[in-house]
Amino acid sequence: MSNVKVLLNGGQNITFLRPDGYFSFHNIPAGTHLIEVSAIGYFFSPVRVDVSARNPGKVQAALTENRKGLSELVLEPLREEQYYEIREPFSIMSLLKSPMGLMVGFMLAVAFLMPKLVENMDPEEMRRAQEEMRSQGVPSLSSLLPG
């Protein structure tokens, strides 16, 4: 709380906060003014304050970022400032999507699925395929094509 400053009109008047969060500016002439809050770690929208000339003491305020009017001059941060890049949290999907995960996944799929493909062939075809492979040595693309 002690490092928070409230600035009026681009730094002409600077005031600080009391322990209960109250702040005050004195002797402000009538017209439109801008209040900004400087607090490390938080983002506050600047507030446009209209001090009425006709009714002394009447003050209207509105946030500049989203044009919301304020019924009482209570300033809350719009969001927290992120100074650092957020480290991505650990997730299983990111592990699987990484190159190592993809390689392991592919190998597992080949290890389980390939025998299934071979199972459906009848034993004759399998013997023929094995003989061809033994005679040729290197399997060529034409031998792999069916028919």
């Binding site: 002690s2 009109n9 681009g10 730094g11 002409q12 600080f16 003014h33 400032e81």
Partner: protein
């Protein structure tokens, strides 16, 4: 990250309880800070606004720091341990006057009270919540109150002052309710004896100034030659007690025990300073006399504050906090300097960077052997650390070794050019060199030329320029910087120059000039020792060439006709451009002086425009790509000319604070001017807008930040300027076979057709400063560095400020990377 507080004006010690001993200080930079007396570290500090000058501070109830600021209008109480503001009250009064703060032990209705005299009114304020308990105005119209005194142990206070007719007035007031008890006044002529001061001064010439001090019975008069101490004895009789020739500073009185007061004297004698503490009633005895060796670079002592403590043998010991001429703060205790703070860095005027020396390859064998023992010790320590056997001191030593040998803090250049020396000129006339790796001070030098002396009464530093940056020819010379200053506050005061070596900090040349310095223009020419030629323009518009060597004259003569400069007259709204004529005549003539003639002038209508900001390109900026490729395989050529000047003007009524005018009465006009021919390349008006304007100009664009009164938000605008005369060169055949003017240099003589594009966006923060990043190879995109008013730095990619952004970018534009248009600039920290 380092924090500074500035030149200390007042200091109050807080050393009563056991535990942390602190001192609370207020400085000329409107900062209130609490320092640890053991180490000088800042516990907390608050920066008050620029108009919030601190008039008085004190500690009340042992736990609140009370400050009176803004000419006595604002009274604040801060919690001593953490700096949290407890209460704030605003005091009003009928007229301006001196402000006085007095903390008392009074208890009014169970509240401890403070007595404050401000703005012509006496107030009693409660310590707990800041409520004003009673107020008293004085009937005497012209009363100037000098002091408010509370005799110890009584319930009333005395207010003493002078009325206009040199009548001495004394009011006695009941402290509980503000009732006036007694009023006495004596006319001055009733003083029994007026010993003329000149009798005492004898032969000392010069101005005599009474040194302000709160010691009763003794006062000091300072002349140019000596300082004289005079004691008041009896009925207004004065007696000279001591006369010294050294620079002396006196502290305020400190009450050390019941009824006894002491004060301190600090005298400068050569390279030592002598600290003497004397009891107030007895000049001849000394409670303490110490002599301490002081670094000559700090200058003379300006202020001293003392504090006492009880030693183990029940005698009084004293410690002194001294403020030196270079704004640094030191604590002296028991004959030694306990700590020191370089607070001159709180008020930096100008900064420039300097390269570090090139790393010399190879380490000699002898050096390795010498350090063998250190190396062994270091390894043993690290081993102890990993085995968890290290004591806290060992851990500290390991950390220190790691820091010292880390890459960041080496004193040689690194590959990417990140390690540099920052050379800063402070308001106190001292030059500091800071290392960018860890911010430590490599050297510091109090400039002789900016030292207060008889010939130069009020030296003011102006700016720093790179003087010698050895690249090719003179690699074994050290780079140096030029410091330009002037000897008085007005712009036709005589100037002073200093040349300082950037590696060692030695001032190897200092000149007192016979002319004033209005502008310093670094020329793009260097002589054979890589010294850059500079032109110093004085108030009569004569140009003087430095360095004053024949070689410089020869180089300059060959480029004589190409030298142009401009001047901006803010008050009259006139911008003028000059070129050089012949050698100047007159009594300041030498062959290095040249007359100038006015080439062009732009007179801005002063009833509707007042200049508030100007901006130019940085000299050493290199533009990497001349052409900008846009969608549809089209090319636009940037208009890159180093002679561009950006000028921003506002309506005269709107040159005050934000919110002082209505949107209908204010407008902002920006110009882009070529400084060689005076041609206004572009002019744009923003209606309903106001300053303050921060601008940066780079390559072919300008980004500026201002306040939009209609929407009551800040805005940032960008103007980009392109060269149309080269736009015919889009045909490849023409580039290859025909003749094209792409390689012709950009010259201001040719009146190129230019077109500009601009756009504006809303922006949340108010700015203190804006700058642009540099890239060596042109690969990284430029980012704008924005310093916000909350003292934070934001890096905004330049692509957000591209005037060709539109709400629905076409496919080709999206390929190029143009971001869709939004009305405000987003601040995404990761981007």
């Amino acid at each position: 990250h380092q924090q500074y507080i500035g030149k200390v004006k007042q200091a109050v010690f807080h050393t009563h309880k056991t535990g942390r001993k602190r001192v609370v200080a207020s400085t000329e930079q409107n900062i209130i800070a609490t320092l640890d007396l053991r180490s000088g570290e800042i516990f907390w500090r608050h920066v008050l606004g620029p108009n919030d000058v601190v008039d008085g501070i004190d500690i009340a109830l042992g736990k609140y720091v009370i400050t009176l600021s803004s000419g006595g209008s604002i009274l604040r109480a801060w919690n001593l341990p953490d700096g949290q503001m407890v209460w704030e009250s605003s005091l009003h009064g009928p007229k301006h006057s001196k402000s006085l703060l007095l903390t008392t032990n009074l208890i009014i209705e169970k509240d401890n009270a403070l007595i404050v005299f401000s703005n012509g009114r006496l107030n009693a304020v409660s310590c707990i919540d800041g409520e004003v308990l009673w107020k008293k105005d004085f009937e005497e119209e012209s009363l100037e109150v000098q002091q408010v005194i509370q005799p110890p142990g009584s319930d009333f206070i005395y207010v003493v002052g002078f009325a206009a007719s040199s009548q001495f007035q004394m009011y006695k007031i009941n402290a509980k309710n503000g009732e006036l008890l007694k009023h006495e006044s004596t006319a001055f002529s009733g003083r029994s004896q007026q010993t003329p001061v000149s009798n005492l001064l004898e032969d000392s010439p010069g101005l005599a100034v009474i040194i302000h001090s709160s010691v009763t019975g003794i006062f000091a008069i300072k002349t140019d030659a000596a300082t004289i101490f005079i004691r008041v004895i009896g009925e207004g009789k004065l007696e000279v007690v001591e006369k010294t020739n050294h620079e002396t500073v006196v502290s305020d009185a400190l009450s050390i025990s019941e009824g006894q007061q002491a004060f301190a004297l600090v005298q400068h004698a050569g390279s030592n300073i002598h600290l003497t503490v004397k009891p107030a009633h007895d000049w001849d005895s000394n409670l303490l006399k110490e002599s301490i060796k002081m670094d000559q670079q700090r200058g003379f002592v300006h202020k001293v504050f003392i504090n006492n403590y009880i030693r183990t043998d029940r005698s009084h010991g004293f410690r002194a906090l001294i403020v030196m001429e270079d704004h640094s703060l030191l604590l002296l205790q028991q004959g030694a300097i306990v700590w020191s703070r370089e607070d001159g860095l709180a008020s930096i005027i100008d900064v420039t960077t300097s390269e570090l020396p090139v790393e010399k390859a190879g380490v000699s064998v002898a050096k390795v052997e010498l350090n063998l023992f250190e190396w062994l010790k270091g390894h043993v320590l690290k081993l102890k650390g990993t085995l968890m056997l290290a004591t806290p001191e060992d851990i500290a030593a390991i950390q220190y070794m790691r820091l010292k040998s880390s890459e960041k803090s080496k004193m040689t250049r690194d590959h990417n050019g990140f390690r540099k020396l920052l050379i800063a000129l402070t308001r106190a006339g001292k030059l500091f060199a800071l290392h960018t790796g860890d911010g430590r001070i490599v050297w510091s030098h109090l400039l002789q030329s900016l030292h207060k002396s008889e010939s130069c009464r009020q030296p003011i530093g102006l700016n720093l320029h790179q003087w010698q940056v050895p690249h090719h020819h003179a690699l074994d010379e050290n780079p140096s910087v030029l410091v330009v200053g002037r000897c008085g506050p007005s712009s036709d005061a005589l100037g002073v120059l200093s040349l300082v070596d950037s590696y060692t900090g030695k001032e190897f040349s200092s000149l007192r000039l016979v002319h004033s310095v209005a502008q310093v223009i670094p020329l793009p020419y260097t002589d054979s020792t890589e010294q850059r030629l500079h032109l110093l323009i004085d108030a009569d518009k004569h140009a003087h060439l430095y360095p004053k060597t024949h070689e410089a004259i020869d180089i300059f003569q060959s480029e004589f006709s190409n030298v142009y400069w401009y001047s901006v007259d803010d008050d009259n709204g006139i911008i003028k451009g000059y070129a050089l004529k012949t050698k100047c005549s007159g009594n300041v003539a030498d062959e290095f002086c040249f007359d100038s003639r006015e080439l062009w002038s732009i007179v801005l209508p002063s009833e509707s425009e007042k200049i508030i900001t100007t901006a130019t390109r940085k000299l050493n900026e290199a533009v990497h790509t001349q052409a900008k490729l846009i969608a549809d395989q089209d090319v636009m050529y940037k208009y890159i000319s180093s002679n561009l000047l950006f000028v921003a003007t506002v309506a005269p009524k709107a040159s005050g604070e934000i919110g002082s005018v209505t949107p209908e009465e204010s407008w902002l006009v920006v110009y882009l001017i070529d400084t060689v021919t005076g041609r206004v390349l572009h002019r744009m008006t923003h209606h309903g807008s106001q300053g303050p304007v921060q601008a940066v100009l780079s390559e072919n664009w300008v980004v500026y930040h201002y306040f939009n009164l209609r929407a009551h938000r800040y805005e940032m605008s960008v103007i980009e300027i392109y060269d149309q005369s080269r736009a015919d060169n889009k045909d490849v055949w023409k580039l290859v076979v025909g003749n094209h003017n792409l390689t012709s240099p950009v010259s201001s003589y040719s009146r190129a057709e230019v077109i500009t594009k601009s756009q504006s966006y809303f922006f949340t923060h108010s700015l203190k400063a804006i700058a642009v990043t540099l890239t060596v190879k042109g690969i990284t995109s430029k980012q704008l560095l924005i310093g916000t008013i909350g003292d934070q730095v934001l890096a905004l990619d330049k692509r957000f400020l591209d005037p060709r952004r539109s709400v629905n970018p076409t496919q080709a534009e999206r390929e190029e990377g143009i971001i869709p248009l939004t009305d405000s600039l987003p601040i995404i920290p990761q981007v």
